[in-house]
Symmetry: C2
Subunit: 432 residues, 2 copies
């Protein structure tokens, strides 16, 4: 017996069974639900478009004999049974909801790639020790109900169920009521509990950044999710007549803002270009051409994969703002502080090996965006696979990806998930 | 005969006859028309509140026997006759219209100070060679009908009558129709032509800046109106995900804006603090905390009293923006280019001497704001007198001034206007 050779053999069969054309067609099909005139997708969580997408997913699942289940927050699971049903399943998936002006790939890809894995394993006739489940998490985007990653956070126990159910969208509609109508529209799906044991979680996703595309690398082995600190800065000056007020007598809130942002850019300079620093929102008042700005409010989005750097530099943001405020008053609030996450080495090793086995160029990446994998990393060995997207653009109708690139990612996913599903023991995640 | 002594004698009588209390009470009375709940005034041009203010002015004038007249754009004239009615009159005044959120003094002061001059000359029994006319110019603020200084510009011939009459406000109401209802409400005022000869024009106004107050100087002898150049700058980058896009790959429009504004601040630095440079309006898109700004549009308001400096530095604005744009594209438009004006030396000499005669601290100032005097300077010797306003604030309900300070300015105005009205020859303005 030569088990190595045999494995390589059926690995290649599984990879070949991943059908690029079917995977692409399913993306196009899903994009019909919530389609926008500009080619984008508006399929916000628990909306009628989301219901249609769920019904489509259930149809694809049941047509192949997979069992569907949903939990108390609407996370939807498609199960391909394993030899040993009592072992915690391997989960793979992502989300079906989109931004209001979103695209065809963010989230959907992870779900459809998971479905492709099940299909390919069936095609080759591979039986696994553990069951494999494809999951579509509810309300990942957070654009209808705040916060994002809601379904996966509730599943992982980091967002209390009652709190999520009591959340309302902008029109005042309760999450609980929106969910009830979704569940009523999918009556033949059995119910299950939140937070059941999971063997491991592996999520495929478009990169949402330009690195893979620009380096012509097809597979991103995601090492973790960088930490994020958000601040709002209120610069308070005094509005004054632009023609009559000498500069020395001004308390110009926008001039102070340019000094502060310049100083923050120096503080947060990074020769390795790993650090992310963005002033994305700037509100000037009274915002009149011939009036000295009396007030500016701006946001700081600061991210880094290293906890110590995030702490050290982030803790200097407020004092840097103060030091460069001139005659203005400064109020700094930290609105988010999320530590970096490092994914499980077992998972990243398996993903790397799978890419190598398939002869695909791969690189380690840290995710700049949040993902449901962040929630799952709290409860089981977790990892992610990135594939390139056009120009690094996401959260936009112009979001795009290459059919062959999507299929390559699904092949790596198939090999990695299959291997995880054959293991009868998997480590629990250590907290970092 | 000792004419010097005699002049000083009745000058002091005229100054004494300027009644601080009456002048203050008239400001409070005028502030009733268009009064806002917050203590400010909303008396936009040709509105019902403006009609009420005009009727009040006409009542005050006719009760003292002065003739009232109005021209084809609604400029309102109150005439105290001179010994030689064929000599062009000395004009003094300002405007009765206010900003939507304006105060009690901007404009109104110049009209009421003029009325106080007529009253004081009557009290002392001074006859002048030339007639003296108090004028209330129509639509100085430009907040209802664009442009501002409309009435005085039409009078001076720099704004065509037909163009002004065809102007519409935000609700689509024609200037011509609004004017017709104002004239119908003031039927006993005789009509006269635009642009009749004027001997000289002297306008009293609150400073609208902090210099007089902060230097404890009661009288500003206005040397001229600084020149102004306005630009709009469009910085075009590319919006991108704040978490996933490396800084080196970004085209961050706000980062480019801070570099540009810093460079413009250096270009426009002025140790003498005469130059005015303001970035008052900044519009960031998409203006989301976790999205790299793809577009910033901002305004530049650049003013200087020296034509050469205004030209030299203003002409470098576009290239400076280009040089500091990084990877962004830049579009610069110049939206206004108004040359500086130097007031007539005859007038500034007379105003200075009047302040000195009254023992009032005075200083030369350049007006940072536009005024009707700008229009008049095109057609006759022109000058202005500034008095302090609280904290330099105007165009605001919190605009305020001191009764004694207003009266002091009216006394200087009275002496200066009287002297001009005694002169049978006055020079024509040279173009500068």
């Amino acid at each position: 017996m030569e088990p190595q050779l045999a494995a390589t053999d059926y690995h290649m069969q599984v990879a070949t069974a991943v059908d690029e054309r079917r995977l692409w067609q399913r993306h196009l099909k899903m994009a019909v639900f919530g389609a926008r005139d500009d080619g984008g997708v508006n399929r916000q969580a628990l909306s009628p478009a989301d219901v249609s997408a769920r019904i489509q997913l259930i149809e694809w699942a049941t047509s192949r004999g997979y069992a569907c289940a949903t939990d108390p927050v609407g996370n939807l699971f498609v199960r391909r049974e394993g030899r040993n049903p009592s072992l915690p399943a391997i989960l793979t998936g992502s989300h079906l909801d989109s931004q209001p002006a979103g695209g065809k790939f963010d989230g959907v890809y992870g779900v459809l790639a998971g479905m492709e894995v099940l299909h390919a394993l069936d095609t080759v006739g591979v039986a696994t020790e553990r069951a494999i489940e494809v999951v579509a998490w509810t309300n990942e985007e957070g654009s209808r109900f705040v916060p994002g990653m809601a379904g996966s956070s509730a599943f992982a126990g980091t967002l209390p169920l009652e709190k999520l159910l009591a959340t309302r969208d902008r029109e005042g509609i309760l999450f609980e009521d929106a969910l009830a109508s979704v569940l009523a529209a999918t009556p033949n799906v059995k119910r299950r509990a939140l937070g059941f044991p999971v063997g491991a979680y592996l999520e495929a996703h478009i990169e949402q950044g330009p690195v893979l595309e620009s380096t012509r690398c097809g597979i991103g082995v995601v090492a973790g999710i960088q930490g994020t600190r958000w601040f709002t800065v209120h610069v308070k000056g005094a509005s004054a007549h632009a023609g009559t007020t000498p500069l020395a007598m001004r308390r110009d809130a926008f001039k102070a803002t340019t000094s502060i942002v310049t100083a923050l850019s120096s503080l947060l300079a990074d020769g390795d270009d790993v650090l992310r620093f963005t002033v994305g929102r700037v509100v000037v008042e009274p915002n009149s051409p011939n009036t000295v700005p009396g007030s500016v409010q701006f946001t700081i989005d600061f991210r880094h994969p290293d906890f110590e750097i995030l702490k050290k530099l982030g803790d200097r943001v407020e004092s840097t703002c103060m030091e460069h405020a001139g005659k203005c008053d400064i109020l700094v609030n930290e609105t988010l502080n999320m530590s970096p996450i490092q994914f499980d080495k077992t998972i990243t090793d398996i993903v790397s090996a799978a890419a190598d086995e398939l002869g695909l160029a791969r690189m380690f990446l840290t995710s700049g965006a949040f993902h449901d994998a962040k929630s799952l990393s709290e409860m089981c060995p977790t990892g992610m696979i990135f594939v390139p997207c056009a120009n690094g653009i996401s959260h936009s109708p112009s979001e795009n990806a290459d059919p062959a690139g999507l299929a390559a990612g699904a092949r790596v996913l198939a090999l990695a998930v299959e291997q995880l599903a054959q293991r009868t023991t998997l480590s629990s995640p250590g907290r970092r």
